[in-house]
C-alpha cells in the first residue's frame, strides 16, 4: 500500500517527461494510476501558483500539459489492454474487518473500499474522451479566461484539474464508494466552477442549486450503495459482478425476483438521473450555464452529465439481472420523456447557450433510452459522439459570447459566420449542428440511429412499451433537428448584424472600472473580438474529432482478434468486453425488406431533413444561405414570430421552461422554508420555553412561599404550631 503512494508521489512532478514513455510497451493496468496522480498533482500546483500569486498563463499551460499526459497514459493503457478487466491498487481507503462469532463459528465481515482502479474497456472508452476533451477544452480555456489572469485563473484551473481527478475516480473506481467519491467530487467542482464569477449572485445561486440537486440524486446513489453492501456484502465491482454472474447474493441465496434486483437498480437509477439532469432533476443544468463556457463545454455537456449513463452501464449486469426488467423500462421511459420535454423547451427559448444546455439534457435522454432499450452499445456510442459534437458546439457558442461581450440572444445576432475571424466558428457550428440533428453520414446520425432502431427492435414484452419509446424518440429527433438549425440559421448565417452584450466593456468587474450604467450598447464603436489562436486550435480539433467520431462505427471492434464483429463497430467491441456487455435483441420488424437498423437509416434521415427544412423555412435568411426558402432579412424578426399567436399559451409556457422551477419552489422550497421557521419558533419558545419553565419553577415556588417569612414572631409561632398540630393529628389517627 505504501509503495502505491510512493509511486504516485514520484510521478507528481514530471507530467511532461512521461510522453516519451507512451511508445514503451503498455505496462499493464498499473499505469492507469498515473491519471489521478497527475491531475491531483496539477491541482496542487495550481494551488501553489495561487499562493505565489502567479500573474501569467502558467497554470493554463501546466494544466494542458498534464491533461495531455493523462490522455497519453490512457492511450498507452488502451493499446496494451487485452479486454480482460484488471484492478490497479493504489492504497487502502475505508478498509477494515471484524470477526463476529455466530453460533460457535467466527465469521469475519469486512468493509473494503480502496483507492483502486478497475480497468476494463468501458472505463478506457470513457477515459479516452474525458481526458481528450479535457485537454482540448483546457487549451480553449487558457485564452477564454485570459482577461482575469491571476488568482481567479489559478482557482479556475485548480478546480478544472480537480474535476478531471474526480471524473477519473468516478469512471475508474474499482468500488462503488470510490465511484461515489468521484460522484460528489464532480459535484463539488461543478459547484466551484459554476460559481466562478462569484460576484454575480445568479452564478452563486446556480452553483448552490446544482450542488443541492446533485446531493438529492446522491442520496439515491448512497441508498443503492448501502443496499448493495447489505445484499452482496461487498462494494467491489469484481466481487459484485462475480456474485451477480452466479445469480446469488452475499449469503448464497438466489437473487432473481427478490428485492435485490428490483429495488437496488431503481436507487442507482435515481442517483444517475440526479447527476445526469434527467426527468425531475434537470432544473440545475440550464442554470449551470452561468458558469464560464469551457466549464459548460466540458462538465455540463461532455463528461460530468454522462456519469449517470456510465453508472448504469457499469452496473448493467445488476440492471439486467431482473427478468421483468422493471428498472430498465423505467430508465427507458424517463429518458424518452426527458428528451421530449427538453426538446419542447429548446424550441421556444432565445438564449443560444441555454439551448445547448437543454439539448444536452435531451441527448442524455436519448442515451438513457438507449440503455433502457437494452442497447448499451448504442448508448455508449451516442455518449462518445455527443461528447465531441456538443463540446464543439459549446466552444463555438463560447467564442461568439467571448467575441460579442456576452451577447447570447439569437434575436440580436445574425450572420456571425461571415464576420472577420469568425469563419472557423461558423464552420464548426455547422458541423456540430449537422451531427446533433443526425444528418446522415455524420457520427451523430449513426449513434442516434442505433438507439432509434433499437426502439423498434426490442420486443415490447421485455421492455414495457419499447415501441412507444421508439416513436417518442423519433419525434424528438425531428424536433432536435429543428431547434439546432433554428439557432444556426438565426445566428450564423444571414445578414451581418450584431448588438454587443451588456458586459461588453467591463468584461468582468475584476477590472473594477467603468460602471455599467454609462455604457449604452447602441454606440457602434464596439467591434467584435474574434477568438484568438488557442481557441481556434481547440475549435478546429473539436471539429476534426467530431468528424472522425463516425469512423469507429465502421472499425468492427476487435474483429482482428478473431471474435465476430460485435454490432456498433469499435465502440460495440469495447462495450462487449466490459461489464456493460449484453446481447441486444436483433430481429425487430422488417420494413420494406430491410432490417430494422437499415430501415431506421432512412426514416431518421427523413425526419431529420423535415426538421431542417422547417427551421430553414421559419428562420432561414434570404437567398442561398436560407436554402432559398427562408426570407429573414434582419436579426430580430423571422417568420416564426408569426406562429406565436397561433400556438398561444403553449409558447409562453415553453419559453418559461414550463414553470418547473416555480413549481419546485412552490412545492418543496417554500414549504420547507415555512417549516423551518415554525421549527425555529418551536425551538425558541416551546423546547426552550419548557426548559426555562423548569429553570424558573424553583424561583416561582420561592415567591409563593416567601410571604410566610414576614418577620412576625407570631406568624412563625403559628406555623410551628400548625406543623405540631399536623403531627399530633397523624398520631391520633394512628392511635384510633
Amino acid at each position: 500500500m505504501l509503495d502505491g503512494l510512493a509511486h504516485m508521489l514520484v510521478t507528481l512532478g514530471d507530467g511532461g517527461a512521461l510522453s516519451s514513455g507512451i511508445a514503451r510497451a503498455a505496462a499493464g493496468a498499473d499505469l492507469i494510476k498515473l491519471v489521478p496522480a497527475i491531475t491531483l498533482g496539477a491541482t496542487a500546483m495550481c494551488g501553489v501558483f495561487a499562493a505565489m500569486k502567479v500573474k501569467s498563463k502558467l497554470p493554463a499551460w501546466f494544466s494542458v500539459a498534464s491533461l495531455a499526459a493523462c490522455f497519453g497514459v490512457v492511450l498507452a493503457v488502451f493499446l496494451g489492454h487485452d479486454g480482460t478487466p484488471r484492478v490497479a491498487h493504489a492504497f487502502d481507503w475505508i478498509n477494515f474487518s471484524w470477526t463476529i462469532s455466530e453460533n460457535r463459528a467466527s465469521v469475519t465481515h469486512d468493509l473494503v473500499s480502496n483507492f483502486a482502479f478497475y480497468v476494463d474497456s468501458l472505463t478506457l472508452l470513457w477515459m479516452l474522451f474525458v481526458t481528450g476533451l479535457a485537454a482540448l477544452i483546457a487549451l480553449y480555456a487558457s485564452e477564454y479566461m485570459s482577461h482575469d489572469v491571476g488568482a481567479g485563473y489559478c482557482r479556475f484551473f485548480a478546480a478544472f484539474n480537480l474535476f478531471v481527478f474526480s471524473m477519473s475516480c468516478l469512471v475508474m473506481g474499482d468500488n462503488l464508494l470510490l465511484t461515489f467519491l468521484g460522484w460528489e467530487g464532480v459535484g463539488l467542482c461543478s459547484y466551484l466552477l459554476i460559481g466562478y464569477y462569484y460576484t454575480k449572485d445568479s452564478a452563486v445561486a446556480a452553483g448552490k442549486k446544482a450542488f443541492i440537486m446533485n446531493r438529492i440524486g446522491d442520496l439515491g446513489f448512497v441508498l443503492g450503495l448501502m443496499s448493495t453492501y447489505v445484499a452482496f456484502g461487498t462494494l467491489e465491482y469484481d466481487r459484485l459482478f462475480d456474485l451477480i454472474g452466479r445469480g446469488v447474493d452475499g449469503a448464497g441465496q438466489p437473487i432473481t425476483g427478490t428485492w435485490v434486483v428490483q429495488v437496488i437498480p431503481f436507487l442507482f437509477a435515481i442517483g444517475a438521473f440526479g447527476k445526469s439532469a434527467q426527468i425531475f432533476f434537470y432544473v440545475w443544468l440550464p442554470d449551470a450555464m452561468e458558469g464560464p463556457t469551457p466549464v459548460s463545454a466540458l462538465i455540463h455537456a461532455a463528461t460530468m452529465v454522462t456519469a449517470g449513463v456510465f453508472l448504469i452501464a457499469r452496473l448493467y449486469p445488476l440492471f439486467a439481472a431482473d427478468d421483468a426488467k422493471l428498472a430498465l423500462s423505467f430508465v427507458a421511459w424517463s429518458g424518452a420523456l426527458t428528451a421530449l420535454w427538453a426538446a419542447t423547451i429548446e424550441m421556444a427559448i432565445f438564449d443560444i447557450k441555454r439551448v445547448m444546455g437543454y439539448s444536452t439534457i435531451s441527448q442524455l435522454g436519448f442515451m438513457f433510452a438507449g440503455l433502457g432499450l437494452l442497447t448499451p452499445t448504442g448508448a455508449a456510442y451516442h455518449t462518445f459522439t455527443h461528447a465531441f459534437f456538443k463540446a464543439t458546439l459549446f466552444l463555438g457558442v463560447g467564442a461568439v459570447m467571448h467575441g460579442f461581450g456576452g451577447q447570447l440572444d439569437l434575436r440580436r445576432l445574425s450572420g456571425v459566420a461571415w464576420m472577420r475571424g469568425f469563419g472557423l466558428v461558423g464552420v464548426a457550428m455547422l458541423i456540430g449542428s449537422i451531427n446533433l440533428s443526425g444528418v446522415p453520414g455524420t457520427a451523430g446520425f449513426f449513434s442516434k440511429d442505433m438507439i432509434l432502431a433499437q426502439g423498434f427492435t426490442t420486443p415490447g414484452t421485455t421492455i414495457w412499451g419499447a415501441q412507444a419509446v421508439g416513436w417518442i424518440l423519433l419525434v424528438t429527433a425531428g424536433m432536435t433537428a429543428y431547434y439546432t438549425f433554428r439557432t444556426y440559421f438565426r445566428v450564423y448565417v444571414g445578414p451581418k448584424e450584431f448588438t454587443p452584450g451588456e458586459d461588453a466593456h467591463a468584461h468582468d468587474d475584476h477590472h473594477g472600472h467603468g460602471h455599467k450604467e454609462d455604457f449604452d450598447p447602441t454606440t457602434a464603436e464596439f467591434d467584435p473580438h474574434p477568438p484568438g489562436a488557442p481557441m481556434k486550435v481547440a475549435i478546429g480539433l473539436g471539429m476534426a474529432l467530431t468528424l472522425l467520431a463516425a469512423i469507429p462505427y465502421f472499425m468492427g471492434g476487435h474483429a482482428a482478434r478473431g471474435e465476430h464483429a460485435a454490432p456498433g463497430g469499435w465502440v460495440g467491441g469495447m462495450v462487449a468486453h466490459s461489464s456493460a456487455a449484453y446481447n441486444t435483441p436483433h430481429e425487430g420488424f422488417s420494413f420494406l425488406g430491410l432490417t430494422s437498423h437499415a430501415a431506421m437509416y432512412f426514416i431518421s434521415a427523413g425526419v431529420g431533413a423535415v426538421g431542417l427544412l422547417i427551421a430553414a423555412y421559419l428562420h432561414g435568411p434570404k437567398g442561398w444561405q436560407g436554402l432559398w426558402i427562408g426570407n429573414r432579412t434582419e436579426a430580430a424578426t423571422s417568420r416564426a414570430d408569426a406562429l406565436v399567436p397561433l400556438l398561444g399559451r403553449v409558447v409562453t409556457f415553453a419559453r418559461n421552461k414550463w414553470y418547473v422551477d416555480e413549481i419546485y419552489d412552490f412545492l418543496i422550497v417554500k414549504p420547507l422554508w415555512v417549516l423551518s421557521h415554525v421549527l425555529y419558533f418551536i425551538d425558541q419558545w416551546v423546547v426552550d420555553g419548557l426548559v426555562n419553565l423548569f429553570g424558573a419553577a424553583p424561583g416561582m415556588t420561592g415567591k409563593a412561599i416567601r410571604p410566610t417569612q414576614n418577620g412576625e414572631l407570631h406568624g412563625y409561632a403559628a406555623w410551628m404550631a400548625g406543623g405540631l398540630a399536623v403531627v399530633l393529628l397523624v398520631v391520633i389517627l394512628v392511635a384510633t
Binding site: 500500500m1 492504497f91 487502502d92 481507503w93 475505508i94 478498509n95 477494515f96 474487518s97 471484524w98 470477526t99 463476529i100 462469532s101 455466530e102 453460533n103 465469521v107 465481515h109 483507492f115 464508494l177 461515489f180 467519491l181 460522484w183 460528489e184 467530487g185 463539488l188 459547484y191 466551484l192 460559481g195 462569484y198 460576484t199 449572485d201 452563486v204 450542488f211 443541492i212 446531493r215 438529492i216 446522491d218 442520496l219 448512497v222 441508498l223 448501502m226 443496499s227 453492501y229 447489505v230 445484499a231 456484502g233 447474493d249 452475499g250 449469503a251 448464497g252 473594477g512 420547507l672 422554508w673 423551518s676 421557521h677 421549527l679 425555529y680 425551538d683 423546547v687 426548559v691 429553570g695
Partner: protein, 565 residues
C-alpha cells in the same frame, strides 16, 4: 504515569499563569498546551494499538484515593479514549494561538482557566474510576462558565448560567444512576469485590446482571445526564446560546471536545452498563437523533447569526454520531467514534474561521457580512474547505464517519431476512438490530439538508457582492452597506488586523486542514485501531440481539416485559 502527567502539566501551568505577570501569560499558556501535545504524541507511540481494547498506560496498582468511598486514582486509556485525548491535546495549542489577539482583558485569568479546562477534559478521557470521571466531567463546567461569562458577547451571563445549570442538573441525576450501579455491583454480588468500588471494569461486569426494569431506570438516569452534554434533540437548547456567547477559543473547545464528553460517556457507561435497556430503547434514541438531524438542519436554515447556525449544525451532526452508536454494530460504532474526532476537527475549524471574521468586523450576522472572498481569499479557501469537510464530501474526513454511521444504521435491522441469522452464512452485510433502512433513508435526507444550510451560509458570507458592517465595532445592528467594488482596497478598520489571515491564523488552521484531508483519504490506521474496543462491545450486543427474544408471539410486546436474564 504518563497519563497523570498529561493531566497535571496543564493544571500546573494554569496555576503558574495565575501568578505570572500578564505579559508572560500567553507564552506560558502556549507552553502548557504544547508540552502535553508532545507528550501525547509520545504516548501514542508507546500505546499498543493492536490490542486497543486493553486498558493501558495506567498506574500499575491504582492508588486508593479515598478508601472508605472506594475511589481509586486509576487512569487508563483504550484506543477510543486515547484518540479523544489526542484530539483534546491538539485543540489546546490551537485555541491558545487563536485567542492571541482576541483576548485583551484579564489575559491571565483567561489562560489560567483555559488550561484548567484542558486538564479536566484530559482527565475525563483517562479516568478508569467512576468518581474520578465524574469529578473531571463536572469540573469542566467551571472554566467554561468563567470563559463564557467573562469574555462572551451580549447576554453572556444568562447563557453561562443556563449552560451550567442545565448540564449540572443532568449530571447530578446521572450521578444517582452511577451510584445505583455501584451499589448494585457491590451489594448484590455478595461483597465479592472487597467493599465499595467505583472501578469501571468491575462495575461493567456486575451491572449487566441487573434486571431489565432496573437497567431501564439506570438508562433513563444516565441518559438524563449525558444526553444533555451531547445535545440530543429535546435537551439541546443550551448549545446555540452557549456558542453564540462564548469567545472563539471557548466555542472551539465547546464544540471540539465538550460535546464529545457526552458521546464518550454514552459509549463508556451506557453501552456496557445497561445492555438490555439499550437494546430495548435503541430505536427510540435513534429516532431522537434523527429528529435532531432534520430539526437541527432545518432550524439552521433560518439563522442569521453564523455562530448559531454552526451551533445548530453541531446538534445535527452529533445526531449522526448517536445514530451510528445505537446501531449497535461494528460499522455504526466505529463510524460514531470516528465522527467524534472528525466533528471536533471540522466544526472546531469553522468556529476558528468565524472568530477570525468576528475579530475583524465585530459582527456575526449574515445580513451584515457578504462576499468576503474578495477581501479575504485565503480565509475563503479555508472556509470552503472546512464547509465541505463538515457537509461530508467524500475525500474529506466528514464523509468517512457519516457514511459509516449511515451504513451502520442501514444494516442494523432484522428486516434483512428475519430468521436468516441462524444459518451460518448470515446475509453478508446485514447485522441484527432494530434500526433499518428507513432510519438510514431519513437520516440520509439530513445529508441534503446539511448541504443546503451550509452552502447557503457560504453563499451569503463567502461568495456574492462584498458587504461589510457599517461602523467598526457596532455589534450586529442594522444593515451592512454594500461596499462599491471600487474602494475594496479602502482601509476598512478591521480591528487592527490585516484584512486577510495572518501567518499565525493560517498556522492554527493548517494542522486541522491537513488532518481533515489525511483522515478523509487514509482513515485505515484509525479504523483498524478502533476495531479492538468496538468489537468487544459489539460482540456482547451481537450475542444479545442475535438470540431470539422470548415470547415469539409478538415481537414488540415481548420486548416490553423481557424477563431478567
Amino acid at each position: 504515569m504518563l497519563l497523570a502527567a498529561l493531566i497535571l502539566i496543564p493544571l500546573l501551568f494554569g496555576v503558574l499563569i495565575a501568578f505570572a505577570p500578564d505579559g508572560r501569560a500567553r507564552t506560558l499558556a502556549g507552553l502548557g498546551t504544547t508540552l502535553p501535545l508532545l507528550l501525547g504524541a509520545y504516548v501514542a507511540t508507546t500505546f499498543d494499538w493492536t490490542t486497543g481494547e486493553r486498558m493501558q498506560l495506567g498506574p500499575m496498582e491504582p492508588a486508593a484515593w479515598m478508601k472508605p468511598l472506594g475511589i481509586t486514582l486509576s487512569l487508563g486509556v483504550d484506543s477510543v479514549a486515547l484518540l479523544l485525548v489526542l484530539l483534546t491535546l491538539l485543540l489546546g495549542p490551537i485555541c491558545v494561538a487563536a485567542s492571541a489577539t482576541a483576548i485583551t482583558t484579564r489575559v491571565r485569568t483567561y489562560y489560567a482557566w483555559l488550561l484548567v479546562l484542558q486538564a479536566a477534559m484530559t482527565g475525563v478521557f483517562c479516568a478508569r474510576d467512576l468518581i474520578v470521571f465524574y469529578i473531571c466531567f463536572e469540573f469542566t463546567l467551571i472554566p467554561m462558565f468563567v470563559l463564557i461569562s467573562l469574555w462572551g458577547s451580549t447576554n453572556r451571563k444568562k447563557a453561562a448560567i443556563k449552560f451550567f445549570l442545565f448540564t449540572f442538573t443532568g449530571s447530578v441525576i446521572a450521578l444517582a444512576g452511577l451510584v445505583y450501579v455501584a451499589w448494585y455491583a457491590t451489594t448484590t454480588s455478595g461483597g465479592k469485590f472487597a467493599g465499595w468500588t467505583f472501578d469501571i471494569g468491575v462495575l461493567e461486569s456486575a451491572a449487566r446482571t441487573m434486571s431489565a426494569k432496573q437497567q431501564a431506570f439506570v438508562l433513563l438516569a444516565l441518559m438524563a445526564g449525558f444526553a444533555v452534554k451531547v445535545p440530543l434533540f429535546p435537551v439541546h437548547t443550551w448549545l446555540p446560546l452557549a456558542h453564540t456567547e462564548a469567545p472563539t477559543a471557548g466555542s472551539v473547545i465547546l464544540a471540539g471536545v465538550l460535546l464529545k464528553l457526552g458521546t464518550y460517556a454514552l459509549y463508556r457507561f451506557v453501552l456496557p452498563f445497561v445492555p438490555l435497556a439499550v437494546v430495548e430503547y435503541a430505536p427510540l434514541i435513534a429516532l431522537l437523533s434523527i429528529v435532531g438531524i432534520l430539526y437541527g438542519g432545518l432550524v439552521c436554515w433560518v439563522q442569521t447569526d453564523v455562530k448559531k447556525l454552526v451551533a445548530y449544525s453541531s446538534v445535527a451532526h452529533l445526531g449522526f454520531c448517536i445514530l451510528g452508536m445505537f446501531a449497535l454494530n461494528n460499522t455504526g460504532l466505529t463510524g460514531s467514534i470516528l465522527y467524534m474526532i472528525n466533528h471536533g476537527l471540522s466544526t472546531g475549524a469553522l468556529f476558528l474561521l468565524i472568530g477570525m471574521v468576528y475579530e475583524r468586523h465585530h459582527t456575526r450576522s449574515m445580513k451584515e457580512l457578504g462576499g468576503l472572498a474578495k477581501r479575504m481569499p485565503v480565509w475563503a479557501t479555508f472556509m470552503v474547505f472546512f464547509v465541505m469537510a463538515s457537509v461530508g464530501l467524500p475525500g474529506l474526513n466528514g464523509f468517512v464517519s457519516e457514511f459509516l454511521c449511515l451504513l451502520g444504521a442501514f444494516q442494523a435491522s432484522s428486516a434483512w431476512g428475519s430468521g436468516v441469522w441462524h444459518s451460518l452464512g448470515v446475509q453478508k452485510g446485514a447485522t441484527p438490530g432494530d434500526l433499518g433502512p428507513w432510519f438510514a433513508a431519513v437520516a440520509g435526507t439530513g445529508m441534503i439538508v446539511a448541504a443546503m444550510y451550509l452552502l447557503i451560509m457560504v453563499g451569503r458570507v463567502v461568495w456574492g457582492k462584498l458587504v461589510l458592517p457599517h461602523g467598526h465595532g457596532a455589534d450586529n445592528h442594522g444593515h451592512g452597506h454594500d461596499v462599491p467594488a471600487a474602494d475594496s482596497h479602502a482601509t476598512e478598520s478591521t480591528g487592527g488586523l490585516p484584512p486577510d489571515l495572518t501567518k499565525r491564523e493560517i498556522l492554527t488552521l493548517l494542522p486541522l486542514a491537513a488532518l481533515c484531508l489525511a483522515l478523509g483519504l487514509y482513515p485505515k490506521p484509525v479504523l483498524m485501531a478502533l476495531q479492538g474496543p468496538v468489537s468487544r462491545t459489539v460482540s456482547m450486543y451481537d450475542e444479545m440481539l442475535r438470540n431470539p427474544r422470548p415470547g415469539p408471539a409478538v415481537e414488540k410486546s415481548a420486548a416490553a416485559e423481557r424477563g431478567a436474564p
